[in-house]
C-alpha cells in the first residue's frame, strides 16, 4: 500500500513525530511504500539541522534525514508554515533576506499542493498531530 504522511507537531514537545516515525518504519518493514511525508504547523520544526538534543536522547531530525537517504523518502516542509517559524533552505533564505539557512539534509521546502497531491496519489493518508 502507498501511504501519504502528514506530521503536524514539532519534535520533542509532542509525541506525533515519534509516532509517525515508528509508523513509517513499521510500514516499510511490511513492504509498504511511503509516497511522501509532509510537515505542517509546528511539524516544520522537524526539519532544522540546528536541533541539538542531549547526547543520551534520540536525534529526531537526524533520524528523518537518515530515513530519507536510506529509503529515498520525500520529506516536504510547507513553505508558508516554514516562513512563519524560521525554517529556510538556501533559496528561501536568499529570497527573504536572511543570513543563513537551517534546513536538514533530505528535506525540501515546497507548497501545500504537495500535501493535496500526496493525499490524492496515496492509498491512505495518515495524519499525526494533536
Amino acid at each position: 500500500m502507498k501511504f501519504g504522511i502528514m506530521i503536524n507537531e514539532g519534535p520533542y514537545t509532542h509525541q506525533a513525530s515519534d509516532t509517525a516515525y515508528n509508523f513509517v518504519i513499521a510500514a516499510l518493514g511490511k513492504g509498504h511504500e511511503i509516497y511522501r511525508i509532509f510537515f505542517y504547523h509546528d511539524g516544520v520544526n522537524n526539519g532544522t539541522r540546528y536541533t541539538t538534543p542531549p547526547q543520551d536522547d534520540r536525534n529526531i531530525v537526524n533520524r528523518w534525514s537518515e530515513l530519507a537517504e536510506k529509503h529515498e523518502i520525500d520529506l516536504v516542509i510547507c513553505v508558508a508554515a516554514a516562513q512563519r517559524r524560521g525554517i529556510a533552505d538556501a533559496d528561501e533564505a536568499k529570497r527573504n533576506g536572511k543570513d543563513g539557512d537551517n534546513i536538514a539534509p533530505g528535506f525540501r521546502i515546497s507548497g501545500l499542493g504537495q500535501l493535496l497531491e500526496a493525499s490524492i496519489q496515496a492509498d491512505r493518508t495518515m495524519v499525526f498531530g494533536d
Partner: protein, 124 residues
C-alpha cells in the same frame, strides 16, 4: 497536478477554536490551496472548531488578525459542503443562526457515517 479523472472525497476536519492556536488559520490555508485540485471536498466543524464560524469575532484585544471573513470566500473556491456537528454546537450554546456562513447541521451519528465514506480525512 493530478491526473484527470481521479477525484477523491476529502474532508477537512476542524476541531479547534479559531484563536489560541494557529490550527484553524493554517487549516483554512490548506482548504484554499486545495481548491485548485478540484477534488470532492467538504469541511466539518466539530468540538471547539464550531467557534471558527461564529459571527462577530473581534480580535482587537488579542492583537491577531480576524480571519473569519475568509470563510465567506469559500464559496468562490467551490468549497460548498460545509457541515457542523449538532452536538458540538448544542453544548456550546450555538445554533446555525450564530454562524457567519450557511451550514448543514449533522448529528454525531451522521458525522461518523460521513467520515467512514471519505477517502481522505485531514484533521486540524
Amino acid at each position: 497536478m493530478e491526473e484527470a479523472g481521479e477525484i477523491k472525497k476529502i474532508m477537512y476536519v476542524n476541531r479547534k477554536a479559531p484563536y489560541g492556536t494557529i490550527y484553524a488559520l493554517e487549516a483554512l490555508e490548506v482548504v484554499l490551496i486545495g481548491a485548485a485540485f478540484e477534488q470532492d471536498v467538504c469541511m466539518m466543524f466539530l468540538d471547539d472548531g464550531v467557534f471558527q464560524l461564529k459571527k462577530g469575532q473581534d480580535t482587537k484585544g488579542l492583537g491577531v488578525k480576524n480571519f473569519s471573513p475568509t470563510y465567506r470566500a469559500l464559496e468562490m473556491y467551490d468549497v460548498e459542503k460545509i457541515y457542523v456537528e449538532k452536538e458540538s454546537m448544542e453544548v456550546r450554546g450555538l445554533t446555525a443562526d450564530d454562524l457567519i456562513i450557511p451550514v448543514e447541521v449533522k448529528s454525531n451519528k451522521e458525522v461518523i457515517e460521513m467520515m467512514s465514506d471519505m477517502d481522505v480525512l485531514l484533521n486540524f
